[in-house]
């Protein structure tokens, strides 16, 4: 079937609801409205309002209710309407969901998924464009997954729902409807914790995830004209980070550029750089570059195009590492 990213998410949810009687979907406006991005469109009609549930407007409780459901053996998929509101769920997820297994000596598990659209350059209001994966990637006990394609979105989501650990699933809003691609009908999974080589190359490694994978691939295409062959790694899971795939690539290329749209300081990019220099130090021929959001809050819409890493900024960073 052909699907764009948000349709792939919807298809994944439908399959989980059909095949797993313990699965249910909850969040703000996920019911009759089908979610503000239509990710849950039609699900309440098909599965009823007991399995596709509108919640009160209260994100901490969405996560906390999810924990309770999971503790009772269900497999909730909670939607947070925009990733910016993941600040509000930080306590329930960080202090509770991510630690339920530890605190109960493995007696209770938090098999649950928290989905949220994330990212910028879509001219949304205040706090609707933020990328908070780093906060949760610093929070061991929850896996953090960001698909970059429709295929990965469905496969990773189904893997996340059946994973016994809690998973934060961040969907790149900017490419929700960016492109349609052929994806398999029915259930398939893409393994969590495994990066993917999105493009092979020999001269430099570009590490990206989510919406920035497309931008990185465009940069790689452009660089090809300059006879630069960039390898593009799509992390897919940023926690636990699949450092090995990145290291393997950098050992080959000797150079790397890490890309994300979240603010620069203490972002996932820093972790990737730290890993590379820890494990591929002697292969490195130039400093690893980071192309990221600035060290400022996510800006006003009029400036956001300059904040989110562009193809040009990625390409320039590649050139810098090559001439270093």
């Amino acid at each position: 079937m052909k699907a764009n990213l948000v349709e792939a998410v919807q298809d994944g949810l439908r399959i989980a609801l059909r095949e797993d009687p313990d699965c249910l979907v909850l969040g703000e406006d996920v019911g009759r409205n089908g979610g503000v991005f239509r990710a849950t469109d039609g699900l309440q009609q098909e599965f009823g309002d007991q399995r596709v549930l509108d919640t009160p407007l209260a994100e901490s409780s969405i996560a906390g209710v999810g924990l309770g459901l999971a503790a009772a053996g269900m497999h909730p998929v909670c939607e947070i309407q925009f990733a910016g509101f993941l600040y509000i769920t930080m306590n329930q997820i960080g202090s509770q969901v991510a630690r339920l297994r530890m605190r109960t000596g493995g007696g209770l598990k938090a098999q649950m998924v928290i989905r949220a659209p994330y990212g910028g350059n879509v001219r949304t209001p205040d706090l609707h464009s933020d990328s908070f994966e780093a906060l949760y990637a610093h929070t061991p006990g929850i896996k953090v997954v960001l698909p970059a394609t429709a295929y990965a979105a469905k496969g990773l989501l189904l893997a996340a729902i059946e994973d016994p650990d809690p998973v934060l699933f961040l969907e790149p809003m900017r490419i929700y409807r960016g492109f349609r691609e052929e994806i398999p009908e029915g259930r398939y999974t893409v393994p969590l914790g495994q990066a993917r080589v999105a493009r092979e190359g020999t001269d430099v490694t570009i590490v990206a995830y989510g919406a920035e994978v497309s931008t990185a691939l465009e940069a790689a295409e452009a660089l090809q004209m300059e006879h630069i062959e960039a390898e593009v790694i799509d992390l897919q899971t940023v926690a636990p980070l699949d450092a090995e795939t990145v290291i393997g690539s950098v050992r080959k290329t000797g150079r790397a550029v890490v890309v994300h749209e979240a603010a620069r300081p203490v972002g996932v990019g820093a972790e990737v750089v730290a890993r590379i220099q820890e494990e591929a130090f002697y292969s490195l021929e130039a400093p690893v570059e980071r192309v990221t959001g600035w060290p400022t809050p996510y800006p006003f819409v009029q400036a956001e195009g300059l904040y989110v890493p562009s193809m040009a900024r990625i390409a320039a960073a590649v050139r810098r590492t090559l001439s270093a």
Partner: protein, 359 residues
């Protein structure tokens, strides 16, 4: 058995006027001047809404929420405020912001994705809140400052029916109650939180009675009766300014338009419901009141509409003349006092943009 006490359900919304605009028996009404002032702002709000929706359709501003149908609540509250009072509201209280002195140009700039501030000197308002409920504890903080400084002023903290579910709503109202702060909590219950109806937001019979859970007096008011809204708010605000502590107001109204320009309300609410509420539009109701009271000059509404259009035309023009936000501005606005390293980091970011010609 039978130890549990059932939650009471004994509220009637306060009204000063009937649907036909006629005053109810034995009520005290605001002055003609006040009534006209409220009407003027209601008309301004209606035109502002039209204008914003049309700018959005033309791609000249971003997503915006419609305020149509809620002008009585917003203006009744706004006119009851004094200059020295603080306003803490959200995207649904744009009209109250305008009444309180925030220039239309600032709001248009905000929705154009620009820097909306600073507000003019002396306009006491927090930024238009987007994170539902976050303004509530902040309003308590403003109230605490007024109390500590013994200023005879009040804070009004506005939110929607959906917002009452948020933890921050609770924490903010409770704080103000516990410390006896001069804050009026004003909930516009417009029936919906995007697609979630009021009844599924909370099982409480009224939102008004939530005030009791924080130990403060409360009122339930017909939010389409601007005079009732005005009088209730005036009482609550005066009480607060005089050191009488916080209070809680639920204004029952209805959002006639979509939640925002990205919303399709036909997905979740029947046309018949909307039609019924169109018949209760507060704007003609207020006009009927003025007419019945004999204080409606011929052609007033048309004249006010014209005035509003002129003011807004100028505001749009001014907003569109503002130069777009630069990265430098974003850095300037991140730190009031940049550390040496933050300055180096700024230069580095700017250089990166220059290198690729994005600046």
């Amino acid at each position: 058995m039978g130890y549990l006490r059932e939650a009471p359900n004994d509220w009637e919304p306060l009204r000063l006027t009937a649907e036909d605009g006629k005053p109810l028996p034995e009520v005290q009404l605001p002055s003609a001047e006040t009534a006209l002032e409220i009407f003027r702002w209601m008309v301004f709000g209606r035109i502002f809404d039209q204008r914003m929706l049309s700018l959005q359709r033309q791609g000249r501003i971003g997503t915006i929420g419609s305020i149509r149908g809620q002008e009585a609540s917003a203006a009744g509250l706004g006119v009851a405020l004094r200059q020295e009072d603080w306003l803490a509201g959200s995207y649904r209280e744009l009209l109250t912001y305008l009444v309180h002195g925030v220039p239309a140009e600032a709001l248009i700039t905000l929705y154009r994705g620009g820097v909306p501030g600073p507000f003019p000197a002396g306009v006491r308002a927090l930024p238009v809140q987007i994170v539902i409920g976050a303004q509530m504890p902040q309003a308590a903080g403003l109230g605490l400052a007024l109390k500590l400084r013994q200023e005879p002023a009040a804070v009004v903290a506005c939110c929607g029916d959906g917002a009452t579910s948020e933890g921050d709503f609770h924490e903010g109202v409770n704080f103000a109650g516990a410390h006896g702060l001069p804050v009026v909590f004003f909930v516009q219950n417009n029936g919906w939180a995007i697609s979630v109806p009021r009844a599924r937001q909370t099982a409480s019979a009224t939102i008004a009675q939530k005030g009791f859970a924080y130990g403060m007096p409360a009122a339930l008011v017909d939010g389409n009766d601007p005079l009732a809204v005005y009088e209730v708010c005036r009482e609550a605000l005066e009480r607060a300014r005089a050191g009488g502590g916080p209070s809680f107001v639920e204004a029952v109204t209805y959002r006639l338009g979509p939640h925002t320009t990205s919303d399709d309300p036909t997905r979740y609410r029947p046309d018949s419901e909307v039609q019924a509420h169109e018949g209760r539009d507060p704007l003609p109701r207020m006009r009927r009141y003025l007419e019945a009271a004999g204080i409606y000059p011929d052609g007033l509404q048309e004249q006010l509409e014209e005035e509003a259009r002129t003011v807004l035309g100028e505001a749009v023009a001014a907003a569109e003349l503002r130069p777009p936000v630069t990265p430098e501005q974003m850095f300037d606005l991140t730190w009031a006092k940049e550390t040496p390293q933050a300055q180096r980091d700024r230069e580095r970011s700017i250089a990166e943009l220059r290198e690729v010609g994005e600046l």
